[in-house]
C-alpha cells in the first residue's frame, strides 16, 4: 500500500465527525486526519493562520468538505481554495447531506473534484468514507507539497 495522505475533514456536526473518523479508523485510514469544525477553521488551517499559524507547510492530500457549516459554508471554502494560487491545486471532495441540485451544480462550477452524498445507512456510509479515503488518501497522486506518511 502507498503512503497515506493527510485528510482535512471540515465538518461541524460532532456525530458526523465521530462516524467519519470511525469509518476511516475501521479501514485504518485515520492516522492523519485534521478536523476543522467550520469553514473558517478549515481556511485557517489551509492558510496556516489562527490556531494553525506556524504549522508545517504541507497541505492535505484531500479536503473533505461539508456544505452546511457555521461561519463560512463549504461552497465558500471551496471558492476561496480555488481562488488562492497556493491552494487551488488541492483536491476537494464535497461530503454532504445535500442532494440539492443547485449545491451539486455550484460545487462543480467552483471546481470541486468529487461530490458525495452521505448515505443514511451506516454500512453504506462506511463504504463511502472508506472508498474516499482509499482513493484520495492512497490511490490518487496529490499535487506536490502534500503530506504522505506511512499508514
Amino acid at each position: 500500500m502507498n503512503d497515506l495522505g493527510r485528510i482535512l475533514l471540515a465538518e461541524d456536526d460532532p456525530n458526523d465527525v465521530e462516524l467519519t473518523l470511525t469509518a476511516l479508523a475501521q479501514n485504518r485510514l485515520a492516522n492523519e486526519v485534521v478536523v476543522a469544525r467550520d469553514g473558517a477553521e478549515a481556511l485557517e488551517f489551509l492558510q496556516g493562520r489562527g490556531r494553525f499559524a506556524g504549522r508545517s507547510g504541507e497541505q492535505p492530500a484531500v479536503v473533505l468538505l461539508d456544505i452546511k457549516m457555521p461561519k463560512v459554508d463549504g461552497l465558500e471554502v471551496l471558492r476561496r481554495i480555488r481562488q488562492d494560487p497556493k491552494l487551488r491545486a488541492i483536491p476537494v471532495v464535497m461530503l454532504t447531506s445535500s442532494r440539492e441540485e443547485k449545491d451539486v451544480v455550484e460545487s462543480y462550477h467552483l471546481g470541486v473534484n468529487a461530490y458525495v452524498v452521505k448515505p443514511v445507512d451506516f454500512r453504506e456510509f462506511i463504504d463511502a468514507v472508506k472508498t474516499l479515503g482509499l482513493f484520495w488518501g492512497v490511490l490518487n497522486q496529490p499535487p506536490p507539497g502534500s503530506v504522505r506518511r506511512a499508514p
Partner: protein, 524 residues
C-alpha cells in the same frame, strides 16, 4: 343636397332670447339652436326653407352639405313660430354676439362623424338685419334640400354620443347638444369661463384639484388654442358619482381667420376609466399573488433544503451508532435487544426513504420542465428492462401495444411509467403468471395511456386515496413502499396538462390511466 359647390358661411343665426346658441350658416342654411324664445336665422341666398318663412316648424334640424371634399354646414333648431317682423326686431337686438368678422367655421371630428359647424355674422348689424329681412322674405329656392340637410345635421348633433359645446368670445354658450347635457348632467349656464369650473364641478385628473378656469379647454379654444385628449373629472350635485371626460377643443374662426369662439367635443370615459381601474386593481392583486407565490416557493425551497440536509443527518447518526453498538456488543446481546437494534436501524432507514421520496415529490412540483417529443414505447421498454431485476424468478406476461409519441418532459414521464410499471410488478407478486398490459388510445385528441394488471387490485371505495401523498391501501408487510409513487404520477401528469385515474377490484386487478394533451405536430 342639391348644391355641390363649396361654400362659405355667409349668414348669421342668432338666438336672441337666451344666449344659448348662435348658429351658423353657410350657403346651405343657417339657424339657431334651442332657444327658449325666438330663434332666428338669416340664411344665405342659397338657403331656402319654407319653414323659416312660415315659422311653423319647431325644429329646422341640421343641414349639412359635404361637397367635393369641402363642407359647409350648419345645424339649428328653430323653435316656435316666427315672423319676418320678429326676425328683424330680434336681429336688431344684440348686435348679437356677432362681431365684425364675417364668418367663422369650425369642424370637429367626433365619433367618426365629420361635423361641420359654420358660424357667420354680418359685419354690420344693420346689414344683417336687412339681409335677414330680405332673405327671409325671399322665397326659398330649394326648400326641400335645405330641410333635409338641416334635419341631417340636427340628427347628427342630437344623436351623437359625444358632447359638443361651443361658446363665443364672451364665453356665452352658443351650442350645447343633448349628449353634452346628458354627460355633464347640467345644461348651459354660468357667466363665462370663470364660472364653469365651479358650476360643472371640473377637476384635474387627480379628481380633487379644481380645474384652473383659464386652462379649461373651451376657455383655451376661445383664446385660439387647440386642445387634444384632455382628461378631466366632473363632479357636482347633478353627477354625484363623478364623470370622467376626454376633451378636445378647437377655436372657431371666421373666414378671415378672426377668432369667433371655441368648440369642445367630449366623450364620457367613466366606464372605460372604471374598467381601467378594475384592470389595474386586478393587475395589482395578480402582482401581489405572484410575489406571494414567489415567497412561498422560496420558503418551500428553504424548507426542502433543510429537510434534505438537517433531517437526514440525525437519521444517519441513529443508524450509524446503532450499527456501532451492534458491532461492539456482538454476541453478548440477547435476541430481544438485537430485535430492538434491528427495529431502530430499520426505522431510520425507512424514514430516510420517506424523506428522499418527499424531496423527489417536492422537486417534481417546482423543477422546470423540458418539453420535447417523447417516444413512450422506448421509455416503457427502458423501464421494463430496469424492473427485470425486481421480478427475477417470476413469470410475467407483458403485453405492450404500440404507443404514440407524446410531448413532455422525458425524465418526468419516465418516472410516471416507472411508478406505474413497478406498481404493476409489485402488486401482481401473488400471481403466476402475472399479466401486465400497456396500451394507449386517443380520446378527444388526448393520448390516454393505460397500465393494467391482474394483481391484487383495490377497493374502488378508496380510489380517491390512491393518488394522495403517503396514502397506502396495503400494509408495508404486504407490499413495501412509502406511498409517494402515485402522488408523483398525478403531480407530473397534471403539470403536463393531463389527468390520472384508476379502476380496480379487490383480487381482480387494477388499471391505471393517465392522459396527455395531443402532440402539436405530426411526426414527419
Amino acid at each position: 343636397m342639391t348644391e355641390a359647390r363649396p361654400c362659405r358661411p355667409r349668414g348669421t343665426v342668432l338666438d336672441l332670447t337666451t344666449p344659448r346658441a348662435i348658429f351658423l350658416n353657410g350657403p346651405c342654411g343657417a339657424c339657431s339652436f334651442r332657444g327658449e324664445g325666438l330663434n332666428i336665422a338669416t340664411p344665405s341666398p342659397s338657403v331656402r326653407s319654407p319653414a323659416w318663412r312660415k315659422g311653423s316648424t319647431r325644429r329646422l334640424g341640421v343641414a349639412a352639405a359635404i361637397a367635393g371634399g369641402l363642407f359647409c354646414a350648419v345645424g339649428l333648431v328653430v323653435q316656435a313660430r316666427w315672423h319676418t317682423r320678429d326676425i328683424s326686431t330680434s336681429l336688431a337686438r344684440p348686435a348679437l354676439a356677432a362681431g365684425a368678422g364675417r364668418s367663422a367655421a369650425g369642424w370637429i371630428l367626433a365619433g367618426g362623424v365629420l361635423l361641420a359647424l359654420a358660424a357667420g355674422r354680418a359685419s354690420r348689424t344693420g346689414r344683417t338685419i336687412e339681409t335677414s329681412k330680405r332673405q327671409a322674405e325671399r322665397p326659398a329656392r330649394s326648400e326641400g334640400a335645405l330641410k333635409e340637410e338641416k334635419q341631417l345635421l340636427q340628427s347628427i348633433l342630437d344623436s351623437m354620443s359625444d358632447g359638443v359645446v361651443a361658446a363665443n368670445l364672451q364665453g356665452e354658450f352658443i351650442l350645447f347638444n343633448p349628449a353634452a347635457e346628458a354627460i355633464v348632467g347640467l345644461g348651459p349656464g354660468g357667466k363665462g369661463p370663470q364660472e364653469w369650473t365651479e358650476r360643472y364641478g371640473v377637476y384635474l385628473p387627480d379628481a380633487t384639484t379644481p380645474y384652473p378656469p383659464e386652462r379649461l379647454p373651451l376657455a383655451r379654444a376661445i383664446r385660439g388654442e387647440s386642445v387634444d385628449g384632455d382628461i378631466q373629472f366632473l363632479r357636482h350635485a347633478g353627477a354625484p358619482d363623478g364623470v370622467w371626460l376626454r376633451v378636445s377643443a378647437r377655436p372657431i374662426r371666421d373666414e378671415d381667420g378672426a377668432l369667433r369662439g371655441g368648440v369642445v367635443v367630449f366623450s364620457d370615459m367613466s366606464e372605460r376609466r372604471r374598467a381601467e381601474q378594475r384592470i389595474n386593481d386586478l393587475n395589482q392583486a395578480l402582482r401581489h399573488r405572484g410575489e406571494e407565490l414567489e415567497a412561498t416557493n422560496k420558503e418551500l425551497e428553504t424548507f426542502s433544503y433543510s429537510v434534505s440536509h438537517d433531517l437526514r443527518a440525525p437519521l444517519r447518526h441513529i443508524s450509524g451508532f446503532v450499527d456501532l453498538l451492534r458491532q461492539r456488543s456482538g454476541e453478548a446481546v440477547d435476541d430481544t435487544s438485537r430485535h430492538y437494534l434491528h427495529t431502530l436501524a430499520e426505522s431510520a432507514r425507512r424514514m430516510g426513504a420517506l424523506i428522499d421520496d418527499l424531496l423527489v415529490f417536492s422537486r417534481m412540483g417546482r423543477s422546470a420542465m423540458r418539453i420535447v417529443r417523447v417516444d413512450l414505447g422506448a421509455l416503457v421498454e427502458d423501464v421494463r428492462r430496469e424492473l427485470q431485476h425486481d421480478s427475477r424468478g417470476r413469470t410475467i406476461e407483458w403485453r405492450i401495444a404500440p404507443l404514440p409519441p407524446v410531448e413532455g418532459d422525458p425524465a418526468m414521464l419516465r418516472l410516471v411509467l416507472a411508478n406505474l410499471l413497478s406498481n404493476a410488478v409489485k402488486y401482481t407478486r401473488p400471481r403466476d403468471p402475472a399479466r401486465i398490459e400497456i396500451g394507449a388510445e386517443t380520446r378527444n385528441g388526448d393520448t390516454v395511456v393505460c397500465v393494467r394488471d391482474n394483481g391484487v387490485g383495490f377497493d374502488m371505495e378508496y380510489k380517491d386515496k390512491l393518488f394522495g401523498v403517503f396514502q397506502r391501501l396495503h400494509s408495508t408487510e404486504q407490499f413495501e413502499g412509502t406511498g409517494i409513487g402515485l402522488a408523483n404520477v398525478r403531480r407530473i401528469v397534471r403539470r403536463h396538462g393531463g389527468r390520472t385515474w384508476a379502476e380496480g377490484e379487490v383480487d381482480r386487478g387494477a388499471a391505471f390511466y393517465f392522459s396527455l394533451p395531443r402532440c402539436k405536430e405530426d411526426p414527419t
